[in-house]
Subunit: 163 residues, 2 copies
DNA sequence: GCCATATAGTTGCACTTGCAACCATGTCAA
DNA sequence: TTGACATGGTTGCAAGTGCAACTATATGGC
């Protein structure tokens, strides 16, 4: 059999379907897909746009930079999503008076409305997932996820989830 | 306060950081990031390419269609990844004799070598993640992930994880 | 004030992606 | 056999994306 510098890998040893990163990705994608339908097909929004809307709805006015820090999304992605959200009249931007480089973002009434709409559906979606797992399991599960996120952030990068 | 057709959402009720899909995405991304470095910066491979390599290494010769079915990756993505892998002389394709539409894919010696190399590192990476969680927690965690994946697949779509 | 350096945000570019449309082959039924 | 439909795989196109380079403003030392 062929061997490079290392030993050949055993098929039993290498079980792709057991790999946590692999499972994690599949699960994340599967779970997001469902909800993506809501904002995507109903409103033509991207994940980034939805996330920004959610952050502004949840935490109130803030700058693009704040959003980057909080949600670990690339700043160019944020910039373009903001442009799109503004074009749709969902957010307002006004130059900060204390720092004229920065722009304060707020939801417009229309933005509030959409946030309320999507937020309710997000809560509902989350409830369904939790219900499926059972409350206790869901909580443990969430705890593990937080562990993984925290440890990665501690180690170095953190960052974004794709669309 | 502004209200659309639905009630306004309570900031406490809408806690983005508690949402399972959100946590799941962050965790998945964080966990993959680390390993992505290996195949990406060392070999310039994409996630799809690595996954195809892994599947061929694990299960042996198969068609692009099989890979789609097994790993739930979009067929165009598979098609292009295969083209790239072939250009790098990592896989061979030959037309199936029983169905001349299909192409049987196999790893070249060079492909085997790279699979061995990356496979070893993947196992190592998985071990680290599991070690961090503890064996028992890791197993329960994996079980939950499988539940989520299965339920999504049953419900309708399944599909892919992004790069 | 003036310069060097840092930061908020945008833009150009090259690349990846998903979708629909497409080509070639296979299948099944009359 | 032939025609209608299904299937494996590729390609054109219109997004979305990351990165590096850029503009404009801010800040701190001199």
């Amino acid at each position: 059999m062929k061997a490079g510098k290392g030993k050949k890998i055993d098929a039993e040893e290498f079980d792709l379907e057991q790999f946590l990163p692999y499972l994690l990705n599949q699960a994340a994608e599967a779970t997001s897909r469902a909800f993506q339908e809501v904002y995507r097909t109903t409103y033509g929004m991207t994940r980034t746009q939805w996330r920004i809307l959610a952050n502004l709805g949840r935490f109130g006015a803030m700058t693009a930079r704040d959003i980057c820090r909080i949600s670990h999304i690339e700043k160019t992605k944020v910039s373009r999503a903001i442009t799109a959200l503004e074009r749709e009249d969902l957010i307002d931007r006004r130059v900060s008076e204390t720092d004229r480089r920065a722009e304060i973002l707020t939801l417009t009434p229309r933005g509030e409305e959409r946030f309320a709409e999507l937020g309710r559906k997000a809560i509902e979606h989350d409830r369904q997932v939790r219900a499926q797992l059972g409350a206790e399991v869901a909580e443990q599960f969430a705890a593990v996820l937080r562990t993984l996120i925290a440890s990665a952030q501690g180690r170095g990068e953190a960052d974004d989830a794709p669309d």
